[in-house]
């Protein structure tokens, strides 16, 4: 083992694929555009997006007849009366992975009191934004000749799927086997149950069956990539604070209680099939890698609202990972 953990020097001839993986951009326009920019920047063959594309919050911006506006953002009330100030606020909201919604005080008040109306509003803004993202990816990545693989994550509403499926260059990879260079890749957007009851959750048995059905279709598991949104249980890639049913952090002895929250099904699948590489997201604070048998499992982590995209570049040989590097772009 060398000083920096490299087992042996590899020649470029070994390399069959270079890819950039990121996940959990959660509506950050900046991170999505950086994800696309990563292809040329890092000089990779393929880009893989591991899910959770969409934002979690809408920032209502109250616009008055005189052009002035007011919004509460990052805990502060922001006011202004010029188009330039408004544009700055819109950029800031999108930068942080939220969706701006400009409306009147009455409309905002009406939506505040009506969860169904909020839900409709979310669907509308999410689809609109995602369509814009996918169009940008189709246009630019086709031009550069970089393959792009995108799947939703457990947080993404079902309305996202159609937008991704209708892409022209972007490959919708969820719930199927696709080829990334000479490597087979399976993808699964589902997570094991969370306290939030997010759109795509399955109990461990169902999740195992779903992934196994995909893994059984893989011809050469030893060279395959398993792109599974949720990380394997108790792998060090899945430690998070325990949340109670009120969505509050559980404290024990005055400190947040941390527990593994990954999927036992995912762990079992990796242990059974031993792919060359397993890519994960979902637990933002658990950026890192873990060796599970011969499989290198990676969680790229996420800090989407910092405007920097967390990702990892991976160089692969036919049946193993040659090298990988965590990057923050």
């Amino acid at each position: 083992m060398g000083l920096f953990g490299k087992k042996k020097r590899s020649t470029p001839d070994d390399q069959t694929l270079s890819l950039y993986y990121a996940s959990d951009v959660h509506g950050s326009d900046q991170c999505w555009r950086k994800f696309l920019g990563a292809g040329r920047f890092y000089g990779v063959d393929a880009l893989v997006m591991g899910g959770d594309l969409t934002g979690k919050a809408i920032v209502p911006i109250e616009r008055n007849g005189d052009g002035s506006f007011k919004a509460t953002f990052l805990g502060e009330v922001r006011r202004g009366n010029s188009e330039r100030q408004l544009d700055e606020l819109l950029d800031a909201v999108r930068y942080n992975g939220m969706y701006p919604w400009i409306s009147t005080a009455d409309e905002i008040a009406a939506h505040s009191a009506d969860l169904d109306a909020q839900s409709e509003l979310f669907d509308s803004v999410i689809v609109e934004e995602l369509r814009r993202w996918i169009t940008l990816a189709d246009e630019r990545m086709a031009q550069y000749g970089i393959d792009v693989y995108v799947m939703p994550g457990n947080d993404d509403p079902w309305s996202c799927d159609a937008v991704i499926e209708h892409a022209s260059h972007v490959v919708a990879c969820d719930d199927r086997v696709v080829r990334v260079g000479e490597h087979e890749m399976i993808s699964c957007a589902y997570a094991n149950p969370t306290p939030w009851d997010s759109p795509r959750e399955l109990d461990e048995d169902a999740l195992y069956k779903r992934i196994k059905a995909l893994a059984d279709q893989v011809e050469a598991p030893e060279s395959a990539i398993f792109n599974l949104h949720v990380p394997p249980y108790d792998s060090g890639l899945d430690t998070a604070r325990e949340i109670n049913k009120n969505l509050e952090i559980v404290f024990k002895s005055g400190a947040p209680h941390e527990i593994p929250v990954g999927s036992t099904a995912v762990r079992q699948i990796i242990e059974e099939y031993q792919p060359a590489l397993a890519l994960h997201g979902h637990i933002h604070e658990c950026r890192g890698d873990a060796q599970i048998g011969r499989t290198l499992a990676i969680n790229s982590g996420s800090e989407y609202n910092s405007g920097r995209i967390h990702g990892v570049t991976v160089a692969m040989a036919s049946d193993r990972v040659l090298s990988h590097q965590f990057v923050i772009g």
Partner: protein
Amino acid sequence: MADTQPATAPPAADTKSSGLFVRNATGLVRGVPAKSSIIINFIPGHPTQTLAAVFFFALTLAPGGNVYLGILLVIPMVLAFSYAFGLLTSMIPRSGGDYVLVSRVIHPVAGLMSSFCITMAGLLSNAFFGLAFVTVGLGPGLTGIGLIGHNHTLVKWGTTLSNSHKWQFIFGGLMMVAAGLIMTGGWRRVLRIQNTLFWMVTGSLIVCGLVALFTTHSTFIHNFNNFARPYTHSSDTYGSVIAAAHKNGVNTNPAFSFSSTIPVIGILATTAIFSYWTTFVGGELRQGSSRKTANNMALGGTLSLAAVVIFGFIFFRTFGHSFEIAANSGNMPAAISIANTPFFFLISASLGSTIFAIIVFVCYIVFWPLIMYISMLQQTRMLFAYSFDGILPKRVTTVSKAGSPYIAVLIAVIGSLIVLYWGIHSSSFFQILAYATLIQLVGMMIVGLTAAVVPWRRAQLYRASAAQFKILGIPAVVVAGVAAVISGLIIWIVYLHYSALGISDKTKFFTFVAVTLGLAVLYYIAAKLIRRSQGVDIDLAYAEVPPE
């Protein structure tokens, strides 16, 4: 799922108060309450340590200096550093502190320079804590308990510990290992121990403060004389301490002097200006991207100084200003002489209770592993950040099942032991403290510079952050950054001007700074070359991807 950064969007129940619409999605949780963050930021300037510095250094090195005025002058510096670090951390809420902030905004080499300086300061501080644990903690504590309880063996042990290099290294080293062990159990256990130790130390201070508050000055004199009589055979030991000082040329009632107040700023700077410590663990404590990150740093720093004022006032009133000056100038009778004449000793002596002395001593002594652990947060998180960027072996980031970064902890402990050995055998108490303070200020000034340029270097990040607010039309982060640089320069000038504060050989000191900065550059070049030979470009770890 759960976010590294603080959840900016609250759960649905909070929609009305936040002004946001949120949907069912993972990660929408409230962050850790401010308590842990404020405690971490409070500890470096904890009044137990700052009062010791004031009593031990300020009264003797700066006679005529006004401690309260000094505190007043230091508060703007505390705020400057707190908001420079805090606002930057709110913009880049990651663990790793100054290294992450500077490398992402200015350049990785600048980040390493800052980081090397602050790490070097951390190791020097650890050496100081190890030394102080024995020489102003364990030794005086045992001596004090022995004197109050008339136990000659304890007195002898305390004296031996305070004066023996061998025992200083052994017990200082053991304390370091104990602090390292605190960190080997994962965050949950760490925070539990941290809060327990914090409340032990703070509780002992509060109890001593309350006893002092309800003890009149004349009662204290009476009690102290009663305590000392068996040793000094004098009915007025209190008066004889002051008389001895006068005889030795010490002015125990010096007139106020502003020029003597200036070095007090330097002395206070050894403890009071480091209330930005959550910057090193910001990504873990979910203090994140709101202004609360900076506010909690400022609150931690100002609260600790406020406590110094309150307890300082109480102790000065009860013990007497002249007596404190005389006692700390080496004029206590040899039979009852204790380094630093700690407040817990005087209070216990006044009460004449051995049990009380033992309790407050035990609660006081845990301050040193507590502050040592706080200091080590910087080193361990820095090592993690290096490793993630590919400039340290990945194995450094190995964590135990409980989530403890035990290899990083081991590195920090070993590094600290080496510096402790150097500190004991090759330097002086003052010099360690002065070097630690000034080299740390280099890193802090680099962070100040980073804050001053961030609205232009990372314009989009700045505009999208909660740090985007202005003071008199100037971005607050710029104001804080410039003020931090100016504050750092002022403290540097104070130290270079007053050689009694520990910088007697300026050439040696500047060489030390230059070598530290040079090592940072060399380290970057070496890491880059090694990684390049492995086919990895570490510049990519730092480089910002141009958005499409």
